[in-house]
């Protein structure tokens, strides 16, 4: 009796091991012909208003499933590994668009179904047929005017030894190397190895002044750092966190350009709910909707009409009040040179 029981229990255990693998995909096939009721989006966390998502769900009688990435590389992995099987919209950035289009990883978008896209400023739009820009980020320098030992007017001021242990910085090869290349007078998207090597030497000095990579805005507000190389959206957070006592100012650059990057939506090849994805893109480019989104996430926005419709607080945000907004460069696809960047970046991070 005991023996049969034990055999039975073992059988149940073993069966239990395999049941997890089946039965989950049952409902995804049937809803293709009729209009979709499910939309799967892969994007950054803390980047879109939950209320607006709920409203979209209600209007279209659909369920939106949001999944979040932790790194731009994650989105690329999803896109190149047949992302259309799982997702209908994936967020990526302008720098990758050329490769993604060349590799055939993204679907052409039918803009007849997205009339609101005309609200977006054309000059900000790369690979126009394949993506819809969402929000954008200036990556610039802000500093505490009371505690920073140096008044910063160019990237070269950042390697001043007086700033040792004072800089809170964002991370990533393609964010750090461009400022070094600009400081040295080269193309920020250089593919020339000797120029990248020189930029590495410049960054070694920069690295000496960096107290920490990541969490730049928190390190500024809690006093760990007095200078930050960060996104304007994060600067906005830091400035409003300090409120009336705000002593953070945007570095008054005279000549050096700053990086401007876009986050945008693409439809991965083979996406299953394209109709709903297009509806969503039209929804989020609607000026009223985007203006409401900007209240919660006050990043820079390429949707000019939405910016005009946005709240006064957004339009007067000190984090976006600087006069060299036109003096920008974009991150471009550097092709195979990315391995040179990565190798030097690794060396930079390891070196002591």
């Amino acid at each position: 009796m005991k023996k049969t029981m034990s055999i039975l229990l073992t059988m149940i255990l073993i069966m239990g091991l395999f049941t997890g693998c089946t039965g989950t995909n049952a409902n995804s096939e049937s809803d293709k012909a009729a209009s979709s009721t499910e939309l799967n989006i892969y994007m950054w966390q803390q980047y879109i208003s939950d209320d607006l998502i709920a409203k979209f769900e209600e209007e279209n009688n659909a369920k939106v499933n949001l999944s979040y990435m932790s790194d731009n590389a994650d989105a690329i992995t999803k896109l190149t590994a047949g992302g259309g099987q799982e997702y209908d919209l994936i967020m990526t950035c302008d720098a990758y668009m050329e490769s993604l289009v060349d590799g055939g990883y993204v679907e052409k978008i039918n803009f007849e179904n997205i009339p609101n896209a005309s609200n977006i400023n054309d000059s900000y739009w790369t690979a126009k047929e394949y993506c819809v820009p969402y929000l954008m980020n200036y990556i610039y320098i802000i500093y505490n005017k009371d505690t920073s030992p140096v008044e910063i007017k160019s990237y070269n001021d950042l390697i001043n030894p007086a700033l040792k242990g004072q800089i809170a910085s964002i991370d990533g090869a393609r964010n750090l190397f461009p400022i070094a290349l600009v400081a040295l007078g080269y193309d920020p998207n250089s593919v020339n190895e000797s120029e990248i090597a020189e930029a590495y030497e410049w960054l070694v000095k920069y690295n000496d002044n960096v107290v920490a990579y990541g969490n730049a805005e928190q390190n500024l507000t809690n006093g760990t750092a007095s200078v930050a190389f960060t996104y304007d959206g994060n600067a906005s957070w830091a400035m409003s966190e300090l409120g009336k006592d705000n002593n953070l100012v945007i570095a008054d650059f005279e000549n050096d350009p700053v990086q401007l990057g876009f986050d945008l939506y693409v439809i991965p090849k083979g996406a299953k709910h394209v109709d709903l994805a297009e509806k969503f893109l039209n929804y989020i480019t609607d000026p009223e909707v985007m203006a409401a989104n900007l209240v919660e996430y006050p990043y820079s926005c390429p949707n000019d009409v939405a910016v005009q419709a946005a709240s006064e607080a957004y339009r007067n945000d000190p984090a976006r009040d600087f006069d060299y907004k036109q003096n920008v460069f974009f991150q471009e696809d550097v092709g195979e040179a990315i391995t040179i960047y990565n190798d030097y970046y690794q060396k930079l991070k390891v070196g002591e």
Binding site: A73, T77, A173, V211, A212, T339, K347, K349, V350, E352
Partner: protein, 289 residues
């Protein structure tokens, strides 16, 4: 008939007992590990993908001074963590083991309580405590120990604090169980024969609890080599150990073959340690309470 019987008597129960675990281990440990080893011999594509052609590039890169330095640095840091955990943990384990059972179980509980909080929370609280405007700096300024706030955060020292606090229970528990198992009669005999407390400790207690010490070493050393999130959070991306490098290769840098080769190296280091361990102690001594 005899064969059938022995199947029923021997093989079936063994299969029933070990089968599920074996399937689990094959599916989730052995296969992934083989896949890692396989990838480590492939090449990297421009787009960060894995190109399935044989290459020893990743292993050649490992010999590069950059990575060699990190490996040495990580081993040093993990050794220091282990040493400090032993120095703090052994006296504590000894103290608990000599208390009555009820008290001992309460003391053990005290070690476990911090683990009810998520480890990221605990690490973040170290940052909050030690940051420039944090309570510790405020206290030091108030008492006049220092005039300007001291910089504790994002240093090797704070990373070490994080590692030790995360690993201490894994050091205490095996040592506690082996000290507790130590027969009191041996200590009494030693005292009867005129040995001082000190001599008894070094000649009887320490050698007999060595298996416990060694399992502590393994349980602390190996994870602290790989705990990249402690260095990530408390080191501010400026302190990098081998775990961070592996994470970067699979994440931001997207060189999976190199990441895999580094993982293989980590597996080899672990294997070597366990091999040494089996030389010193029987496997049944390696237990955690």
């Amino acid at each position: 008939m005899i064969q059938r019987n022995s199947f029923k008597r021997k093989t079936l129960p063994a299969l029933a007992m070990a089968g599920p675990v074996s399937i689990w281990m094959i599916l989730f440990v052995t296969l992934p590990m083989l896949y890692i080893i396989y990838i480590s011999f492939m090449s990297r594509g421009v787009f960060g993908d894995v190109v399935y052609t044989f290459s020893l590039d990743s292993y050649n890169t490992l010999l590069d001074s950059t990575y060699f330095k990190v490996i040495v640095k990580s081993i040093k840091a993990a050794s220091l963590t282990t040493l400090l955990c032993l120095l703090i943990g052994y006296p504590f384990a000894y103290y608990i083991a000599n208390k009555p059972k009820e008290v001992a179980s309460k003391l053990i509980m005290l070690i476990m309580i911090p683990f009810w909080t998520n480890s990221l929370m605990r690490l973040n609280s170290w940052l909050l405590l030690f940051q420039t405007s944090g309570p510790i700096n405020k206290f030091l300024l108030f008492t006049g120990v220092t005039d300007t706030p001291l910089n504790f955060v994002y240093t090797n020292g704070l990373v070490m604090v994080g590692l030790i606090t995360s690993m201490l229970p894994f050091a205490v528990l095996p040592m506690y169980s082996s000290i507790e198992k130590l027969s009191k009669s041996l200590l009494e005999a030693s005292a009867d024969l005129g040995a001082s407390k000190r001599t008894t400790f070094f000649k009887i207690t320490l050698p007999l609890t060595f298996p416990g010490i060694f399992s502590s070493i393994i349980l602390v050393f190996i994870p602290s080599l790989g705990m990249y999130y402690v260095t990530d959070m408390l080191g501010g991306g400026k302190v990098l150990y081998i775990g961070n490098i592996i994470k970067n290769q699979f994440g931001a840098i997207r060189n999976w073959p190199l990441g895999a080769a580094l993982s293989v190296l980590l597996i080899l280091i672990t294997g070597l340690l366990i091999f040494i361990y089996t030389r010193f102690a029987k496997i049944e001594d390696m237990e955690v309470v």
